[in-house]
Symmetry: C2
């Protein structure tokens, strides 16, 4: 895979993330896939290891899940 893939489902956090990812990586370097509109590609996303959306699959195959997780207070 030579191009990053950004999987999302149209939720507000997805849209914000999509705009940022495109802005940072460049529109030519990432394919945007809306899994809510194109459910036939959910299986493809799963094969890459996507467990939630929005997620960015890097050209290396590593998956970055973009979301809100553990609290920063745990670091203190």
């Amino acid at each position: 895979m030579s191009k990053a893939k950004f999987y999302h489902a149209g939720c507000p956090v997805c849209v914000t993330a999509e705009q940022e990812i495109i802005s940072l990586i460049g529109t030519d370097n990432v394919e945007v896939v809306h899994l809510g509109e194109d459910k036939s590609r959910i299986g493809e996303a799963e094969k890459y290891g996507v467990k939630s959306v929005p997620a960015l699959v890097a050209p290396s195959g590593n998956v970055l899940h973009i979301n809100y997780g553990a609290g920063i207070n745990d670091l203190k």
Copy 2:
């Protein structure tokens, strides 16, 4: 803020995410901050809205939290 900031705490998912982000955005376009080693910058991260790590703060100020969230099965 003209440069993206990547906040992490040295956990395995952070390191993978860091490598991918640097590879995708370019090392000159992102400042990497290890909050586990430099706790004095936790307040700065919080001001940007960082709620978990790893997180990428885009030049626009939007925060992308990179993590595992809701399951993809919820989309089906």
